[in-house]
């Protein structure tokens, strides 16, 4: 008898070996003609405008935090689910209380608007779009 988890490291090593072998195979038969143009990032044929490593609006930052809370909850619920039928009502009531608190959290986050991907809707013709709403006289209809 061996440990059930022992194949995992072997599989991970083998996945690297398999992929490395296939890449080596490709290295043997594929052409390799490098040029400065080919090495530049793809931007639909335009010349590359700056780097992509800029400060980026990570829209889902709050969502990622909420995800961690709920994922931990799911992890906690799995052992509970295994013994749920043996313990019966007591376990159920306790978990309802636990889930209730988390649901309140979800509702609070929902009300705060953290779950919305679009944070702010600018009505048509407001803010930086003000110019668009003005009647354009020079357009023939």
């Amino acid at each position: 008898m061996y440990n059930d988890f022992a194949p995992i490291p072997i599989f991970i090593i083998l996945s690297v070996v398999f992929i490395a072998f296939a890449l080596f195979l490709q290295h043997l038969i594929a052409p390799a003609k490098r040029s400065a143009l080919k090495d530049s990032p793809y931007e639909c044929g335009e010349e590359v405008e700056g780097s992509a490593w800029v400060q980026f609006n990570i829209r889902f930052y709050v969502i990622a935090l909420i995800f961690i809370v709920f994922e931990v909850e799911v992890v906690l619920l799995f052992p509970w689910a295994v013994v749920f039928k043996e313990l019966g009502l007591i376990a159920f009531v306790e978990m309802v209380v636990f889930l209730g608190i988390l649901t309140v959290g979800l509702v609070a986050v929902w009300r705060r608007g953290d779950l919305d991907w679009v944070k702010m809707v600018v009505p048509y013709g407001q803010g930086r779009y003000a110019k668009l709403a003005q009647p354009q006289d020079d357009v023939d209809h």
């Binding site: 194949p7 072997i10 083998l14 594929a30 490098r34 490593w53 039928k85 889930l99």
Partner: protein, 374 residues
């Protein structure tokens, strides 16, 4: 419950020419022996699934291309095998294509990214049974293992997108990360119901339970809803249309895969189709009775004795689970060629404001259902 690996180790250990105290070597050999078919399966799966995808799309949308490419005298045309030459051409093309890494990219992370994605999909297959006893390692935490390992893939996606130093890749990776973590919660929560009812995380116990009682799809209205949530979230987790925002080709070129080419690109492809197979197999095992014959349940309701027309047994089991998984993969393709893509905000809306509240309520109601009726 003995796994496939156990039987192989026993077989090898019993051979006359194998030395007595070579348990470690035997174990490693057996692991490699079972890993090769998994790799072969992933490769074949991708090729067959791509062919299937092309044909399904061609029949559904009357596309001409996938119907025409013939090979070795097979003429194309609107037939079942028409277009099979394209599959062969694809495999040759992908291996023969130049492997480019952008000069400004972070080389190390660029190379590591696909390895992580592939490794995660590859290691997930350790825990997934394809028949009674046909599993590489029969974990007592089966479901948990599969969820945990398969979700490592998102790290590879982020690494690949960030390392490419390409705006499309960055957008794609960020959206992908948001999507994959959001849809992981409904997946976990809907699997929780099954664990509550069965009282075990092991795949074999879950199928045994379904053999004694009924398939989870028909067990209660809540488990049926859980199946829908699980399957839809699963489709979202493998980034398929209508949830393929990360690779939305009409707006993001190819998302996090933009800078990859040749075989490095097909690693992503292999993993994506492998993940599709994982989701289909998981749904089949957990909600659709796994390797149980659909006929068995039907005839048993008429109190007929076990007989040949149940089509049950170890090899029929593999047949049934494959049929169920292929049917589910077909549904995924059907959905892809029928519905348009969602917007990112709609995607987050569906995950956080529809699936998660429903999945939470589901846990509550299944608890009541089981306490009253179970």
């Amino acid at each position: 419950m003995t796994s496939f690996t156990d039987s192989l180790i026993e077989l090898l250990g019993g051979l006359a020419w194998v030395p007595e105290n070579a348990a470690g070597i035997i174990f490693v050999t057996v692991s490699v022996l079972v890993a090769l078919p998994v790799f072969l399966f992933m490769t074949l799966n991708a090729m067959v699934a791509v062919y299937m995808e092309r044909k399904v799309s061609a029949f559904m949308q009357d596309r001409l291309g996938p119907m025409e490419v013939g090979i070795f005298g097979f003429k194309g045309g609107k037939r079942f095998w028409g277009g099979i030459g394209q599959t062969v051409a694809d495999a040759v093309k992908l291996l023969g294509k130049e492997d480019t890494i952008p000069g400004e990219a972070d080389r190390a992370l660029f190379i590591i990214g696909p390895f992580i994605l592939f490794g995660a999909a590859f290691a997930t297959f350790i825990g997934i049974p394809i028949g009674y006893g046909l599993v590489i390692s029969d974990f007592n935490i089966g479901i948990f293992f599969v969820i945990a390992i398969s979700s490592i893939g998102v790290i590879g996606v982020i690494l690949a997108g960030w390392a490419s130093n390409n705006k499309w890749s960055l957008y794609g990776a960020m959206r992908s990360a948001a999507q994959m973590i959001s849809y992981e919660l409904p997946v976990g929560m809907s699997l929780l119901l099954v664990v509550m009812v069965v009282g075990s995380l092991q795949f074999h116990d879950i199928v045994m339970w379904q053999e004694q009682h009924r398939w989870f799809l028909f067990h209660s209205p809540f488990t049926a809803l859980a199946f829908l949530i699980f399957f839809a979230s699963g489709v979202a987790e493998v980034n398929r249309t209508p949830f393929d925002i990360p690779e939305a080709e009409s707006e993001l070129v190819a998302g996090y895969m933009t800078e990859y080419s040749g075989f490095r690109w097909s690693i992503f492809f292999l993993s994506e189709y492998a993940n599709m197979a994982i989701i289909a197999l998981m749904s089949a095992i957990i909600f659709l009775g796994g390797w149980l014959s659909p006929l068995g349940g039907l005839f048993r309701t008429f109190n007929l004795e076990q007989s040949w027309y149940f089509l049950e047994g170890p090899w029929w089991g593999v047949f049934w689970i494959s049929i169920k998984a292929i049917a589910l993969i077909f549904v995924m393709m059907w959905v892809r060629w029928t519905w348009p893509r969602l917007r990112p905000d709609q995607l987050m809306y569906v995950a956080w404001k529809v699936f998660i509240p429903f999945a939470l309520a589901n846990i509550f109601f299944v608890g009541i259902w089981e306490l009253l009726l179970g």
